[in-house]
């Protein structure tokens, strides 16, 4: 594997990169990391969203904070550097339930709602989800390797996997 630059994506943030760069986001909890990839141009994009839906929030100018607007922006930014939207595939991770507060039922949990929203939006855009490592109750760090399209998921105490 050739040595690329590591591009960090923060919370409510997104970025794009070309091979051999690596896109990473650290310590995903209930947020969801969305990795999009074009296998022909080896262009990748990574978003770290916090909330499912920008239309339900007044203060929504940060597009990377919400699943709907972040995915749109990510596709747009990837196409600017040469990716073809119709070739994009997705891998997603995160959406954990870090705390189990008693007054919450499963459907109300933000991790679950984030994952559901991301899956619905990707489906609407005809972007296939090749892999999914979501839910449960632990944090994840992810790395999108743009030379291969592999998404590496690291955890503390729950192993490392390539998806």
């Amino acid at each position: 594997m050739s040595e690329g630059n590591v591009v960090k994506v923060g919370m409510a943030d997104l970025n794009v990169a070309k091979a051999p760069d690596i896109l990473t986001t650290l310590g995903l909890g209930s947020c969801v990391g969305i990795a999009l990839y074009d296998n022909i141009t080896k262009i990748g994009g990574l978003a770290h969203i916090m909330l499912p839906d920008s239309t339900q929030i007044k203060n929504n100018e940060n597009v990377a904070k919400f699943a709907d607007t972040a995915i749109e922006k990510l596709i747009c930014d990837m196409s600017i550097i040469g990716a073809k939207p119709s070739r994009l595939v997705a891998k997603i991770a995160g959406g954990a339930h870090m705390f189990e507060f008693k007054n919450m039922d499963d459907m109300m949990r933000i991790g679950t709602r984030n994952v559901t929203a991301v899956m619905e939006i990707l489906k609407k855009l005809n972007i296939p989800i090749l892999a999914n490592d979501t839910g449960s109750n632990y944090g994840r760090t992810i790395e999108l390797h743009t030379d291969t399209g592999i998404l590496l998921v690291r955890t503390i105490g729950h192993g490392i996997k390539e998806i």
């Binding site: 923060g10 919370m11 409510a12 943030d13 650290l26 310590g27 995903l28 909890g29 209930s30 947020c31 916090m50 909330l51 929030i57 007044k58 203060n59 100018e61 940060n62 904070k65 954990a96 870090m98 705390f99 189990e100 507060f101 008693k102 007054n103 933000i110 109750n137 632990y138 944090g139 994840r140 760090t141 503390i156 105490g157």
Partner: protein, 207 residues
Amino acid sequence: MKERDYRNLTNEELDIIREAGNIGAGNAMTSLGKLVGRTLDISITEVHIEKIQELGSVLGDPEKYIAGMLINVHGDLNAMLLLALETESAIKMVNLILNKNVTSVEEFDEMDLSVLCETGNILGGSYVNALNSLTGLDLDVSIPQMAIDMAGAILSYPAIEFARNDNTMLFIETKFTEATNILKGTYIIILDNASFSNIVNVLGDWV
């Protein structure tokens, strides 16, 4: 009631809010000192105003392995109180309280975890009680929840809660340590703007 906005924080407001955090954390540390039989020192309390997305890094590396005990505060304040301990300190705390010799987080049994969580409960109660005595505000607290994981993942929970309505947040941070420097941690209370206004309006007359 005067309209206040922490994004235009005055020096007077900063002093008030810092003192509130100081008194809360001071009271919590007195409780912890009694539990572990050690004296704890608290650092200068700092008030931070950050973008929500910076919250994942406020304890340092978002991948740092920590034990986080989180309490929701409702009523006249909408706040979250987080006690964050590096895992070595969580181990030390369990060993001091239960007189054990646990060496890693993986060795924690249910009793150890429950003692940690209960410690978070007692300390959080002390913090909130001090705030309540100081301000007279009506405060309800949730049962504490604990997670031992990456700092960024733990902090995503309060970050998401506050991200719904704001792009920035105000938090009050107090670090504490014990003489041997093995037991140390951070108390953070995150407030929304209405909560900030409530505290400052109640305490502002004193200054």
